[in-house]
Structure formats: C-alpha cells, structure tokens
Symmetry: C3
Subunit: 254 residues, 3 copies
C-alpha cells in the first residue's frame, strides 16, 4: 500500500477474502490491491489443504479451523468475511465459531450449503457423481477441460492455462463431509449474523437454471440478505478486480 | 428546462411518471430532468395517500382516482404512463378509466396484479403476512432494515438513510383491496392498450426466483409486451437517472 | 479490410456466420467487419430459402444442404460455425454431415432443437399454433408488430422498420419438418463436437422464463458447453456489432 489514497470518503472496512477450491490466497491479489487502494484493510489467508504440497488427508473441519485460527491469531474484529465458491462453507462454519468477530459474511458465487448436506450434494448430480471415483490420496481437482469451459469461459486460453497451472488438488473430504449448519442458520435467522450474496452473472461453474449459484444460494440466506450482481464469470477476481472490489465494498458496508 | 436541447431527433413523448410506495413525485426528479433535457414533456404527480401528512384512510380506488383526475385536469393525451413498484396497479386501473388518453403503459419493476388479487397477494407469503399486523391508523411502511437491504442494496448507507427519511406510510388498504382488472386485461389482450415492462436487473425488492418482478409480471402482459432491461436496483431512478430515462424512451416510443 | 489491423495477438479464426429467419447473410455485415478488423476470416452465406424471391417449397434438409455445400465448395476447415435464431438447427444438422470441418459450433440465441422435434415445437405453444394457419405457397414470416415488440425491443421505429423491410418469408417446412438430431447429440456427448452458447440478455424473441433461449437451449449442449452472455436483444448483430464480435471470438477460440 505505497502511497495509495482512498478516493472516496467510504468508511474503512476489514476484509478477509477466502479463495475457492484449488486456489490460494494469491487468487485475490488484484482485488486486495484495489481494496487497499481505497483505504481498506485486506487479509487473504490460504486455507489448510490448499496450495502446492498441501496435506490431503484433512477434513472439512480442519479447513474451518485454519480460518478460525487465522482470525484469532490476527485478533481481527468487525470483519467482512468473504468466501468464494466452496469457501462459502468455510465462512459459514467459521461464523458459527467466532460470530463476535464478524461484521458480515459475503458469499461471492459461493455455496450456501443446506444444513446437513456435503458440498458435493450442492453440485448437479452429474458432477456430484465424480467424487465417488476420486482417490483420497491424490486429492480432488477438476480436469482442465471442465475448468476451461465452465469457470474460464470468458478468458483466453493463455489465461485459463496459467490459472490452471497454479491450481492444486484439495482433500476429497472437503467435498464429502456432511456439514452441520444449524448454528449458522440460527445466527442468520435471528439477525445476529448479517449476510450478502454477490453474483457474477456469467458464472456458469454451477450450470444456469435449477442448480445455478443464483438465486438458489441467496434464497437460503433469508429476506434480509443483501444481493448484488456484476458482470464476469467464476474468476471475476482475475478478470474484473476493480469492479469486484467495488461490489465487495457495496456488499460489506453498513 | 433552461436551455436544454434534445441531442437526438427522437419524437417528443409525454411522460407521466408514477412513483412507488412511501414516495412522492419528487422521486423522479433526476429522471424527469434527463427526459426534459431530451425534449420530452414530463409530469410527476404525487398519488393520493402518499407524502408526509397524507390521509391514511383511503382505498386503492382513491389512489387511482387521483391519478385519473390528474390526467383529466391537465387534459393529457398520448401519454406514456409509467408506474414504479406498487404503482403498477394504479396505472393499470387508470388505463381502464381513460384508455383514450394513453399511448402506452410502462411497468418499471412494477406489480402487474392478477385479476382479483390484492397487491399484498403479489408479494411472497412471508411479506404478505406482514400486512395482517398493520394498524390502519398508522398506515403501512416497511422497516428501515428491509428497505436498506432489499431496495437500497446498491447504495451507501447515507443514501439509503436519506431515501428512507423522505418516505412516509401509505394507506393499508392500498395493499389489501382486491383489484378487479378484467377491463385492463381485455384492453391488453385485444391490443387496445400497449404495454412495456422495464426491469432493473439488480432489483431484489421482490426476491429473485419464483416471486421476482421479472419475468413473472411481464408474462401477464402477453406476447406483445415490449421488454427492456437495465442495470440497477429498486431505486434506479436515483442511482442511474440517465440510463433509466433512455430506457423509458425505448419503452415508450412507437 | 482496408488498413484494418488486429489490435490483439489473438489467433486467427475462420468464422461462418449463419443468419436467422427472414434474413440473409447481409445481417452480419457489421459483425463481419468487426471480426475482419481483428484479423479473422469471415463467411456470411445466405441459406437456401432466404432472401427476396427465395424458393418457398424447400424442406429443412434443403437449407442444411445449402450450408454444407457452401462449406465444401469453399473447402473450409477448422470453422467456427455460428448460427443465430432458427439457424441453430441448420448448424447442428450441418455439423452432422461435416464434423471434420468444424472447430466449434456456436449457438447465438439460437434454437438447439431436441432430437425429433420440429423448430415450431421449440416455440411457446401460442406461437407454435400460428404455423397451422400459414399458406405454404406464401411462406412464413412474422407480422411486423411481433418483430417490432419481441425482436426489435431495443431499437427505434426507423431501425425496426428498416430491418423488417429487408425481411422476406421462408419455407414453412423449415418450421414444421421433424429433425433427427441423434448424430449431433452423439457428437456433442462424446466430445467430438465442441459447443458454445451465446446469450444476449435482453433477447425476448423467445419469451423470458420457461421458454427463454437461455438456459433452456444451453442445457441441451451438456456440461462442457462454453456459455457467454452480453447486453443486447435479438438483433444484437445490428445494435452492438463490436461487442458481439468480441463475444464470438471468446466463444470460438481454443
């Protein structure tokens, strides 16, 4: 943040941006720079089980623990906790642990799992079927062709190839562990946890229609969920970082 | 209209812009200025039962009467009659009374009520349930939190607060009176009344999905309804007045 | 292509752009110019049964034959084969004949017919009913009012009138011939034919909702269909040629 000066009078927010599957905190680099340029504080932790050489015999709870530990170790409060893609389940479970540290949870094309579901169960049946064939020792990663067509639909081949080259498998249990989200839904339903849903309208990582990100997952956050949409596809943090930063401010502010 | 010169050769239109619930004609100030700047004639009447100190023991028919009276008193003809939000029902009923004065009715994120329904019945059940608990003497207004998250989702807190400060309750009967719209649907079905539907794509005052503004209400206007969409949320007349003016011209012209 | 220089290093593509009903290859003039300006090769054949004085006693197979003949006579290979509107069925059937010449089929607000269906059966019932009353000797064309409100919703009357003046009837059998698409769906399902779907979000030629272009038709192309969206309505090739050219490049490239 060398010399960056906020150009608006917007109140400073503290963002914790949680990357999606196969990626690390570096996925947010451009958005973090844009937010810092506007005067906000930004953290981009890498969740356990992600990144090259990550441990692959972890459970979903381990991922959540690593996020909660990050929030505690940095003694963060009044956090706008943003989750992308499968990280929707990490931020929901983390919010159950440390609701007092959180200003608002923001789901950005992220899974809002139904109570009792595993992440895999939130994907269309044809995708969910994939997980039965994955070797836990190898971890789980989608083939390039799927990433290229469904998540990189709006970028050129060079960008898609670069993004994929930076990806690595995650623990299979992240997709298959059943999630108890009773506390999360109670916090949301009683107004103790505020929520926003951000939808990039060309994001087809979940296929359009019945299984689309939106409005399926936003509905689960109830009538006071603040909804915002922007152009872009699944890696909008790479293709439109300034617009996404603006939208995250809109999602996170009072 | 001091010195404003139309920059296009578009034919002059006469707009009557009808505000939504809790607001007054002043809600359209910026759009009206934009339209006048393009050479159009613009009226922004305040409907009975709206505004500070409004009479709250009125019926839906009283609101319609006030709009029809405005059209007659100003002897307006060839009118592009635009209704926002609940005003969709005011313009539909007014069109039944004075179809000969109307060029086209334009519903802008507005309710197109089914024949026989009350406005309340067009809202999701959880919102409709609210109306049973409203004291008619106090009128009906949504709590700030709902307006902020569902209708002001894309503006900052200062703007949301200002918009809400300018709002006032409306007669409860506007929401609960059953509406006979047989004549309206006959006019539309026989091609005697032309219609357009304008949808601001981030408007979640009606929740996305089954109960969304769009395409639910546009469908009711039949196969010759002209549909247009633009960026923005429920108060797009405040956030994007130039774009909305352009879209209303597109909606209203021959 | 006088002096036009590609401004990016994007790989050269060979496009064959297939117009929709009532139109001819000239419908693509502005998009073709934009693509050529970026260094791509563009063909815009007119399909049999289209254009002034077209033969009207043709079958759907005749239309497909004329497209296949064009690809063969020009010995085209590695083609990005784009179809608009009803041409979705022409490109699907042509792909069955000469898959070896095709890099990718791109449906741009185009019908992806279900195997065994006629084009008419892909329209809403109220539109499909129209075809029973058409005199085959006169061919089929939609009335101006429908074209103006459903396909020209975002243009002014002068543009709509000009577009319609350039239109001419097509053989009725194009709409009513049942289409065997087994081979097409086998090519897609086995990954031998790549597909993209491009959706102009304000295109209401198919009505929004259950019978909308999108995601209805994209779903039929399976999980590896690359989906892209842009602003604009049914004649986006006329209203936003540069944006459509950019989107077709995104849809067609590796």
């Amino acid at each position: 943040m060398t010399g960056a000066v906020p150009t608006t009078s917007e109140a400073q927010l503290t963002f914790v941006l949680v990357h999606g599957a196969f990626q690390t905190g570096s996925a947010w680099a451009d958005v973090a720079a844009a937010l810092r340029g506007r005067g906000h504080v930004v953290h981009t932790p890498t969740i356990a089980g992600h990144g090259p050489n990550a441990q692959l015999d972890l459970t979903h709870a381990d991922a959540v623990d690593s996020l909660v530990a990050y929030l505690r170790e940095n003694d963060l409060s009044d956090v706008v906790l943003v989750g992308h893609s499968i990280a929707g389940t990490f931020i929901a479970k983390a919010a159950e642990e440390v609701p007092e540290r959180i200003k608002r949870v923001v789901f950005q094309n992220a899974v809002v799992a139904a109570d009792g579901n595993a992440l895999a169960e939130e994907f269309p049946p044809e995708m969910a079927a994939v997980f039965g064939h994955v070797d836990p020792a190898q971890g789980f990663i989608l083939p390039f062709e799927v990433v290229r067509e469904r998540a990189c639909n709006d970028v050129d081949l060079a960008t898609a190839t670069r993004l994929y080259a930076e990806m690595s498998p995650i623990p299979v249990a992240y997709m298959t562990d059943r999630l108890n989200l009773e506390v999360f839904y109670d916090l949301v339903g009683t107004g103790k946890l505020r929520t926003s849903y951000v939808n990039a309208v060309n994001d087809i990582a979940m296929p359009p229609g019945e299984h689309a990100w939106f409005p399926r997952f936003a509905h689960r956050l109830g009538p006071l969920c603040r909804i915002l949409q922007l152009e872009g596809a699944h890696y909008v943090m790479t293709t439109r970082p300034e617009e996404l930063a603006e939208t995250l401010v809109q999602a996170g502010r009072d």
